[in-house]
Amino acid sequence: MDAIIEFGRGAFFRFAIAVALLGLVRQMALTVIGVVRAHARAGDRRVDWWGVVAQTFVRLNPLRYFHGPRWVYSILSQIFHVGLILVPIFYAGHIRLWERGLGFGWFSLPAWLADGLTLLTIATAVGLLVARAASQQSRAVSRMEDWAVMVLILVEFATGYLLGHPHQNPFSLDVTMLVHVYCGDVLLILTPFSKIVHCIMLPFSQFVCELGWRLVPGVGREVVKTLGKEGKPI
């Protein structure tokens, strides 16, 4: 068991983080290249880039979603993201692991705050799962990954909390650690291949939408040629 856990914290973790980071960098690079290429090919290249940047910030403003349809889901989601981002990076226990591997660390959250955010993340993850299951609209469009990724995150944070509070842990330390380590590794590997990739792609959405309707001149003619329909009447 110890060897399996060490593998998960060592080589497999390094593999997982490499997949996550390289995958995210690749996705970001492809998106930037896509934006540049789409812009270069567009017939109308006049884009109000600052307007798009402004619109990006408007869309990223969480308060925008605190009213209107599914506002409860939106609030849960915003709170969920706070802990989701802060705890893995600024939890003291994780920073010690990084120090061991990288030789340097950074400031950590106070224990009470890390605990509070972890519990909030767990509670909101459950809330989001319930909200997804309870809504006909969400259920109708949900795919396997929508459930699986949330369950993985829930398990990751729950096991993380239990590891930090062994007196509250009903399971064995080894099993909890095993689940926590491998859940984390799987989430990292899934990052560039699942909806988690929105963490890097969301800021580009408004650029993509802006360019979406910037059509390329001559596409119609080229498509007709490719399909062998040249000269045929409408």
């Binding site: 996705q27 492809l30 998106t31 896509g34 934006v35 290429r37 789409a38 090919r41 567009a42 017939g43 109308d44 006049r46 869309r59 979603y65 209107g68 349809p69 599914r70 889901y73 939106s74 989601s77 809504s135 006909q136 609209q137 969400s138 109708a140 469009v141 949900s142 795919r143 929508d146 291949f193 909806k195 990739v197 929105h198 792609m201 969301l202 580009f204 959405s205 408004q206 993509v208 939408c209 360019l211 979406g212 309707w213 910037r214 059509l215 390329v216 001149p217 001559g218 596409v219 119609g220 003619r221 080229e222 498509v223 007709v224 490719t226 399909l227 329909k229 009447p233 409408i234």
Partner: protein
């Protein structure tokens, strides 16, 4: 359902009672679904899926859509926020009318057939390729959508479902699946003798213009002209060509405005149709029709394109003339912008006592969703209408009339358009208590008139320049 007669029996007191404000968003009472079945021209029925994929591949190869789909297919949160924004879903409550579910029909084809991960996954899990039945499902789904883009306002990921609807329809059109009503009109516009969607020959156009000039002379006692083929004019006018058949008051109102301002404009007999169904279903026709407008402006050595009261005609010109017109693409102006500016500059006088009835305004999606034309028509109306009310919501958040995306031209789906897509709009109209609903869009006007008829509303649907015609002082 209340009949028109029942509605008109309301007392004046009841009519004057302020209406309870409608909740701006939320589900309507569920109605039985109405399938969308449109007439199509005969097209090969075999191997639909294979031909669909071929057309999809060809379009991806030559356009920017691949990059867009790649982004959208990874980003969708599947949260369902788009759902309640959609007027169709609000009425049917059906999963298939969820904007993100509709988009998923195309996105899953893209992932499965055009991405390495999708192809690998398909091999791993033995996923079947696209089937003919799925093509049929898309053929209906993409015409249940009016492409109003209201869902885009709510999507936290900013996904433009109307763009996916447009692409889906484009692919389908390349394999012969498109409503006959749209396709026949485009054929006449691009390859027919008359060169316009209403098949109006030039002599008939000139007759109509002459008749309208006589009407204007009778009304105002002045020689108000519709200039034709004036070389060097500032603006070449492109209304929805159906206005020449169906909307004499709109046209006369516009001519009266130009008489008041004295600015130079003209109608070109080489091409005079602002309608562009390519915006609804085909990039190929979108470009060809835009080029006809540009070429006519160049033929007449004019400076600008002036679009009449038509939402999609205005949007297709405004946003796609620069795309296809190159460096010297003529600027585009909407008649609504023109008239609003003329009023601001004090060049038009309007009688504030001409219209006593309550007036409301319907924002055509194609000009309002982007924020381009929202304030201008309201400025115009408030300058001479004493009793003006807005619908809730309005402006960028407006609801589609239910006939958007070209669906209004498909008569055989009227029951769907007015009973489902237009239900929310019917409730909005009812809530205003207005007599006139101004809709500066040929398509919206047709749809709203059908809504008024089918829902028994005691209202009159008019163009904005129809009211200007009643109020202008020359």
């Amino acid at each position: 359902m209340a009949t028109r007669n029942d509605a008109s029996k309301k007392t004046d007191e009841e009519k004057a009672k302020p209406k309870k404000p409608l909740k701006p968003e939320g589900m309507l009472e569920q109605v039985p679904d109405i399938p969308v079945r449109y007439y199509q021209e005969p097209a090969p029925q075999q191997e639909k899926a294979r031909r669909f994929l071929e057309a999809f591949a060809a379009i991806l190869r030559h356009s920017n859509y691949g990059f867009i789909l790649d982004h959208f297919s990874r980003m969708t949160a599947r949260c369902g926020r788009c759902a309640v924004a959609c007027p169709v879903y609000q009425a049917t409550h059906l999963a298939r009318d969820l904007p993100c579910r509709r988009s998923e029909l195309l996105l899953r084809v893209y992932r499965r057939h055009f991405t390495p991960e999708g192809r690998a996954r398909a091999r791993l899990f033995n996923e079947p390729p696209l089937q003919d039945a799925e093509v049929d499902e898309m053929a209906e789904a993409f015409y249940r959508c009016t492409a109003c883009r209201r869902c885009n306002l709510r999507c936290p990921m900013g996904i433009d479902h109307a763009l996916i609807t447009h692409l889906g329809r484009y692919i389908l059109s390349e394999i012969g699946i498109v409503p006959k009503a749209l396709h026949v009109a485009v054929r006449e516009q691009l390859q027919g003798k008359t060169g316009n969607t209403s098949a109006i020959p030039v002599p008939a156009l000139l007759d109509t213009l002459s008749f309208l000039e006589d009407e204007l002379k009778e009304r105002f006692g002045k020689e108000i002209k519709f200039p034709v083929d004036v070389e060097g004019a500032d603006m070449v006018f492109f209304p929805a060509v159906s206005d020449y058949l169906l909307e004499p008051d709109t046209l006369m109102g516009q001519a009266a405005v130009f008489f008041a301002t004295g600015d130079s404009w003209t109608i070109g007999t080489g091409y005079f149709d602002g309608i562009n169904y390519g915006l609804f279903y085909s990039d190929r026709y979108l470009e060809e029709i835009i080029m006809k407008e540009i070429n006519e402006v160049r033929r007449l050595k004019a400076r600008r394109i002036l679009i009449g009261e038509c939402g999609h005609a205005a949007r297709s010109a405004k946003f796609f003339v620069p795309t296809y017109g190159g460096e010297s693409a003529p600027p585009v102006i909407s008649i609504l912008e023109y008239t609003a500016q003329a009023i601001k500059d004090g060049r038009i006088r309007l009688n504030r006592d001409a219209i006593k009835e309550r007036v409301t305004y319907h924002d055509p999606c194609n000009i309002a969703r982007s924020g381009w034309i929202i304030d201008q028509p309201r400025f115009i109306l408030r300058s001479f209408i004493r009793d003006y009310v807005d619908m809730t919501p309005h402006g960028r958040e407006n609801y589609c009339c239910g006939g958007g995306g070209g669906t209004v031209s498909v008569d055989e789906i009227r029951k769907f358009r007015t009973g489902i897509g237009g239900r929310r709009k019917a409730e909005q109209l009812r809530a205003t208590g207005a007599h006139y609903v101004v809709a500066p869009c040929a398509n919206c006007k047709k749809q709203l008139r059908e809504i008024v008829e089918d829902h028994g509303l005691d209202m009159e649907v008019v163009g904005l320049h129809d009211l200007i015609l009643k109020a202008i002082v020359l």
